[in-house]
Symmetry: C2
Subunit: 122 residues, 2 copies
Amino acid sequence: MSKQDAQVDDAALCCSPVMRAPLSAEQSTELARVFKAIGEPVRLRLLSLIASHAGGEACVCDLTGAFELSGPTISHHLKVLREAGVIEGERRGTWIYYRVRPETLRAISSVLVPADAGTVTA
Amino acid sequence: MSKQDAQVDDAALCCSPVMRAPLSAEQSTELARVFKAIGEPVRLRLLSLIASHAGGEACVCDLTGAFELSGPTISHHLKVLREAGVIEGERRGTWIYYRVRPETLRAISSVLVPADAGTVTA
């Protein structure tokens, strides 16, 4: 598994207008896919656990303790997050280490900034 | 229908930590509900159409033209957005006028800001 395995279209995400202009059907489809991936409590919690973990990365071994769920179930949710481009995984030895893809988070966050607010500072 | 009809728990949303600390199971459930609501292409597009419409509000009559969907289908999606606290509706005469609830957008947007980024400016 490489760092390049995210199947999300970064180009479509990066240039989405914020709430100042209507999204096209194509932009909506791409963005909704990411929101749907994090629109599930376990996956959203996994995302926050990975993002806030020491060094900004975590393996399944670091994550299972927080849930009363099996390893394969956790792995399934990680796969959904990975395929949506929210996280990426890198195998090192026995484990795959996951980290957040900040560019995806920034892209979907900026879409949500209301028209009367400012922008996300880098 | 009043402006107070959103069924989302604003208190739970407003104080969610960003990606710097793990979300609790309760916070994840509340936030995931909002992300799930906008994790659907038609609903996300409706949200952007409402947010960017003249005056920041739109009725179903303003929205149906953008989709090859029936009025009742559009209304169903608007109901899901309303129940998640993303938009609110106010009846004036024949129509219900919908507008975005910026406090909800700001809350879920701030959750997504990566730990290495700044915060959303007001």
